[in-house]
Each structure stands twice: as C-alpha cells, then as structure tokens.
C-alpha cells in the first residue's frame, strides 16, 4: 500500500501551495475575496497557464489524463489556502460526466482545459442528494424542471443537467444527462454566494433546449462514477484545510498568553490539539486509501462513502476546535480559521451529506 506522493505529485502539491500562498495567503485573503469574480477569473487564467485545468481531463479529450492521486495532490494545496476557484466542479466533476459524451462534449472539454469555458453540474432537486430524485423531464431534447443547487454554477457557461427520459421521481432508471447553455432560452439562473465565498446557483428550466450526453436512460452509473471522483478530490481538499487549521492553531496556542503562560501549557488545550492531529492523521490515511482505490480502476465504493463520512466529521470537528482554541479572534473574519470552518461546513454538504453517504455505505457494503 502506497501512501507517499511520487515526485511529480509532490511537485504538483508544492506548486499549488506556492500559488495559494501568493494568491490567497491568509493576510491578503479578505482583500482578495472582496475583489469578487474578477479576481477569481485572473486566478483561473493563471491556473490554466499552469496546466491545472486540463490535468483531470482525459487525454482523448485533449487533457492530461491525471488520475485521482494527482488531483488529490493539487487539491490539498487548494484546501490549505482555501482557494475558491471552482476546480472540482468544473475540471473534475463535469468532465467526468461528459467524458465520451459526443462531439459537443469533446469540444467543450478542450475549452475547459484552456480556461475558456466553465461548466457546472446541475443534478440536485428538492430531495437534495439522491441521484434518483429527478423530476426534471426531457421531451425529446427539451427540458423542463427545477434544479435546486448547482455547485459553483453562478459563473458557468454551460450546465450538465440530469433529466428523466423515462420512469418517475425516485425510479432507479430512465435518467439521462444533457448539456445546457447558460444563455439558453427558457433557462432562469438564480445565483447565490455561500458562506465560504463560492458562487452557486439554482436553475429553473422551462422547455429549454439541451444536448444529450452519451446514451439515453443510462446516466446513473456515469453520475455515480463521476461523483466518486469529485468526492475524493474534495476529501483531499478537506485534509489540506484541516491540516492548515491545525497548524495555525498550534502556532497560536504557543504564543497566546493568558494567566501569565502560553495557553498551550494547559493540558485541556494540549489534548484538544492532540485530538485534532489524530483526526488529521486518520483523514489523511483514509483519503490516500480512497484515492488509491479509485485509481485502481475498480474502486471500492463503500470505502469512498466511508471516507466521505469520516473525513467530513473530522474536518468539521477540527475546524470547530480551531475556532474554539483561538477564542474570540477565532470567530472573526480577519482570521483564516473561521474561513476553514465555513469551508469544512460546506464541504460536508457537497454531493450529499453524511446521512446520505452513511446510507450509501450501508447499501454498498451489504450488497
């Protein structure tokens, strides 16, 4: 069992770390966030130049064909510096949904890699997380329905939308994927910012033209595989973030004085930091195993669900403790630990909450 990154993977992590430090460092963070989408576009262009955007895209589609471990290395850096660019949604998740999806899909995939186009997946409906909770209907290639949440969709040029080409809400088949242009007639895009400064949207589709991706009725397996790939990337992000929050807290308790001593001398503080570091260790090990399993080509999907549950738990707990041990300043905007907490809370909701993945784990491991 391999845990360490290869030299090339290590270089990816280091370059992401450097990029994060230069572009999204803790000190300049608030100013950068205040720049809004413009600043983010600049960073996106720089990421394209570094070749990051084409890293996860298959070679057949003009990408570099990077595997889950390469993506994980990069995402750790994203997590450490809380970079808000829509990397997983646009470069990992959407491409996995679109792979082998036809001419238009290939064309767009190449453009994603160059940073010319942004794509977001819009799969979720009222229910939230179940792949089968789809009511949006496709009459021929025209779509009608509501998508309650598209991760990082606010600035997307295209959406990958799931719709029913057969069956009814809750049925386990009859679901297809379509490409929908953000400016398509009949499409209403509602944009939202989340508390971690990501930019999302919801969609209202009213007889909107779509382009079928791949074969009709067969999207469920493809969605599940793509979601696992995106999940693992987010796990690496969560690990990067929790380790950074722990390191910042460790520094802080060594310097903050109360009652004439550094608060790190209080045993209760030491024990909390120990719990945080154990959670980091546990999460890193689990993330590596999950990424390697995905890379093997025969992923252990129950393991990935398990990793998602446990790493989310650890990530939120670590960030909460980081805030707690900083005392009042931990709750301020000024300090990066509060940003780690917000990101961890949102990571806990992306592509399903813990209950959803626990249920998946049960279903997959009982099967």
């Amino acid at each position: 069992m391999e845990f360490a990154y290869s030299d090339e993977q290590q270089i990816l992590l280091e370059s992401a770390d450097r990029f994060g430090e230069e572009n999204m460092g803790a000190a300049a963070r608030l100013a950068r966030l205040a720049e809004g989408p413009e600043g983010s576009r600049r960073r996106w262009a720089a990421m394209a130049e570094l070749g990051w955007l084409m890293l996860p895209i298959a070679e057949a589609d003009g990408g570099l064909g990077g595997g889950p471990v390469e993506i994980a290395a990069l995402m750790e850096g994203f997590g450490r510096h809380l970079m808000i660019e829509p990397y997983v949604s646009c470069c990992v998740f959407a491409p996995a949904l679109m792979q082998g999806g036809g001419d238009k899909a290939s064309e767009l995939l190449a453009q994603i890699g160059m940073g010319e186009v942004r794509i977001a997946a819009a799969l979720l409906e009222d229910d939230g997380y179940s792949v089968f909770g789809v009511d949006t209907r496709a009459e021929g290639d025209r779509l009608t329905g509501t998508k309650v949440h598209a991760e990082d969709g606010a600035d997307a040029d295209w959406f990958v939308v799931s719709a029913r080409t057969g069956g009814v809400y809750g049925d386990k088949s009859g679901i297809s994927l379509f490409l929908v242009a953000a400016d398509a007639p009949g499409l209403t895009v509602r944009r939202f910012r989340s508390s971690d400064s990501h930019r999302h949207c919801s969609l209202e589709l009213n007889d909107v033209p779509g382009i079928l991706l791949g074969e009709r009725d067969t999207a469920v397996a493809r969605i599940a595989a793509a979601a696992d790939r995106a999940l693992v990337a987010h796990l690496a992000e969560a690990v990067g973030s929790m380790e950074a929050a722990t390191a910042a807290t460790l520094d802080y308790v060594r310097t903050r004085q109360q009652f004439g001593v550094a608060i790190g001398t209080f045993q209760v503080i030491q024990h909390k930091l120990v719990d945080m570091s154990v959670a980091c260790e546990e999460s890193r090990a689990l993330m590596s195993v999950a990424a390697r399993s995905l890379e093997s080509g025969t992923p252990d999907r129950a393991l990935i669900a398990a990793a998602r549950v446990r790493i989310s738990q650890c990530g939120v707990m670590v960030a909460q403790m980081a805030v707690q041990l900083h005392g009042g300043v931990g709750t301020s905007e000024e300090l990066v630990v509060s940003h780690h907490l917000r990101r961890q809370m949102m990571l806990d909701l992306i592509l399903g909450d813990r209950d959803y993945h626990r249920a998946r784990f049960v279903a997959l491991s009982d099967a």
Partner: protein, 393 residues
C-alpha cells in the same frame, strides 16, 4: 416541559400566554428561532412593550421597578415567551449592569439609570475584555486616572458587543497598580458619546455586525460615574457571576424555538418516499437533541428552585451555560442539515435569487453559535470553574 402548576401559577400562565399571543409580529419569529438577535430597534420596541405591561424587568425586585416574580413565575414567563417565538430580552442592561447598580450603586445612579433600562431608553454594552485580557480578565490594562473631578480613561476594549448601538458602557479599568492583579480595578459608567471614545466594528464569521473594538483616548467622565467603591470593581463581578446563571437559565429556556425551526425545515424538504421529517434516522437525531434540551430545562428548573430557596446554586449556572451552548450548536447544525443543498445559498447574488425563508438565518445561526462556547466565559473556563467549585480539584 410542563411541571405541575399551582392554581395561581395556572392563572399567571394564561395571562402571560394571552399577552404573547398578540405581542409578537410574525416577521420576528424566524430570526428568533435562529438564535440570532433581532435588530436593536426591534428589541427596544419589545422592551417598551413589556415595560408598559409592568414586565420590563422580570428578574428584578419590586422596589427597583422589577416584577418580584417567584422562580416558578419566571420560568412560566420564559417558557411562554419561547413558545410564542418571542425574543429573549437583551441582557446587558437588565441582567448585567442593572443588578450591580441596584446592589452597589449610589442613590442618584439608581434613580437615573434603572428606570431607563426598564423602558429600553438606554442600551448598555459591557466593556470588560481587552486584546490581552479575555479569559484572564484580571490582566486588563485600561486605566482610569483621577484628574480633578474626572476620571480620564485610556486603553482599548475588545469584543464590545453592540457598542455601535449602545448609549452607555460599563467599563472595568485600573484605578491603581496594586501588587495583586484583581485589586485596583474599578467599575465606571461611560456615555458612548463622550469625546475620545472611538468604535471600530469587528466582523465575525456569520457576517452580522455584533461586536466591536472600542478605543478610549483621554475619555473624561465625572468621578460620580464610579459604581460602588474605587478599586473594588473586581468584587462586583461576583454579583455578575451570580446573575449570569439567570442569563444562562433564560437563554436555555429559549432553545425549543430553534428545535421547532429544525422540525419545520425537515417537514418542507421532500425526499423520495415523503419528507425528510418522515425519515426515522433524521427523527432520531432530532429526538436526541430534544431529549437533551428537556434535560437542560430540568436543570434550569432546579437552578430556579435553588434561587427560590435562597440557596447557593454553586456552579450550576456554569453547567447550564456549558450544556446550552453545546445544544444550540447541535440544533443549528441539524437545521443546516435539514435544509440540505439550499444551506449553501447564503446570499442571493442577483435580483431573482430567492433563498428559502429560513436561509441564511439557519447558517448564520450555526456559525454564530460557535461564539457561545467562547463568550461569557469559554467552555474550558466553565469546566475549570466546575472542577474547582463543585469538585474541589
């Protein structure tokens, strides 16, 4: 929780219930349930309404304009308020400085300040914490030097909640440098519009403006603004500690509001086969928090019974604070979970964006709740107090 009530108490309950039935506008309710405070103007209007009814200061003795209610009446009042989605009253004047003034203040201070607290005319803020003095409050460095008929205050306060809307601040400052850190600290009342006082907002993770830094730069206040005796300010904190169990008790009684919001969000959320609320797993999680909330209420009742019997409740106030803060964190966390993906929609970015009615309150509530295990004495400090006072460790 419905403990058995005596006939008098039953009548009282009906009276309180009737009052709240037509005193709480609908648009207050969602904010209240999130555990966030209503805007100051609204809270002031609410305070006035209570004062008009004679209920402005539920926990105060009658001679200072309070209700003189028994603990049973108090807990009925809070339960009914919570059930009606009324907000908790703002505590800094009512529970923190008011009681210190009526216990240690001179007559002129009682006559002037107490009625203004009850009617909501004065909004108070607490200027205790400093950048270097949080858990270790005795490390405070703000100075108050005598100069003629005035004190001249210099220093910096931090985390001064609502300083930006307050009319007055009660400040702990050093009036002499004694060997023992707790000595030489005095409690002084400052009008917020005094020259030399500057307020700078602190932005917190929930993106609401609650709290501030306050800079005191040659701020002159008359010597008569001293409360009690010079150099004895630290000791008055003991009354405060005692009163804080009231604050903890009152806030704990409002926890069911948040749990109702969680229920409603879960009932709205459709999942295959019904709503989220129909899922046994979710119900079980909610039930667990509801059960712990009931246990907390039982603790509050016992605390109130102590108070009625005039017994020292020891560190029970700390225990209530500890448990309440943990439960509000769990409850708001579950609320976010109940909202599902919509919980990521914190703020609409364009005109046609519509968030569900309890978003972003749920998330703000969940984020803000992290503060509850830090302010008013962090959980670590509360545990230290319990270890020392209850267990003698």
């Amino acid at each position: 929780m419905t403990p058995s009530l005596a006939p008098d108490d039953l009548a009282f309950r009906d009276e309180v219930r009737a009052f709240f039935a037509d005193s709480i506008p609908d648009d207050w309710k969602t904010t209240v349930r999130s555990g966030l405070r209503l805007p100051p103007e609204t809270l002031t209007a609410y305070q006035k309404r209570l004062a008009d009814r004679g209920w402005g200061a539920p926990t105060w003795p009658v001679e200072y304009g309070g209700t003189g209610w028994t603990p049973a009446q108090l807990s009925i009042f809070w339960s009914e308020a919570a059930a009606a989605d009324a907000p908790p009253q703002f505590h800094q004047g009512l529970e923190l400085i008011g009681p210190i003034i009526f216990t240690y203040g001179r007559q002129a201070q009682k006559d002037f300040y107490l009625p203004r607290i009850i009617t909501g005319e004065d909004w108070w803020c607490q200027g205790y914490s400093e950048p270097g003095a949080g858990s270790d409050l005795a490390a405070l460095r703000t100075r108050a030097d005598r100069d003629g008929d005035d004190y001249v205050l210099n220093g910096q306060k931090m985390w001064t909640s609502y300083a930006h809307v307050a009319d007055r601040m009660f400040v702990l400052a050093r009036t002499s440098t004694e060997a023992k850190r707790q000595q030489g600290i005095s409690l002084i009342l400052v009008d917020m519009d005094t020259p030399g006082l500057r307020i700078q907002p602190i932005h917190t993770l929930d993106e609401k403006h609650h709290t501030n830094e306050v800079f005191l730069d040659d701020v002159r206040v008359p010597l008569s603004n001293l409360v009690g005796e010079e150099g004895m300010g630290w000791g008055y904190g003991k009354v405060l500690l005692d009163r804080e169990r009231m604050v903890a008790a009152a806030t704990a009684m409002f926890l069911p509001q948040t749990l109702r919001a969680v229920r409603e969000a879960a009932k709205r959320r459709r999942v295959p086969g019904g709503t989220l609320f129909d899922r046994p797993g979710f119900r079980s999680k909610l039930a667990q928090i509801e059960i712990e909330a009931l246990a907390l209420q039982a603790m509050v009742m016992r605390l109130m019974a102590d108070a009625a019997a005039g017994a020292d409740s020891g560190p029970r106030g700390s225990m209530v604070k500890l448990r309440w803060s943990e439960l509000i964190q769990q409850a708001t966390g579950l609320w976010v979970e109940a909202l599902g993906p919509a919980a990521q929609h914190f703020e609409a970015l364009d005109g046609n964006g519509k968030t569900p009615p309890d978003m972003p309150l749920a998330l703000q509530g969940a984020l803000y709740s992290r503060v509850t295990t830090i302010y008013g004495g962090s959980s670590e400090i509360q545990r230290n107090i319990i270890a020392r006072r209850a267990l003698g460790l």
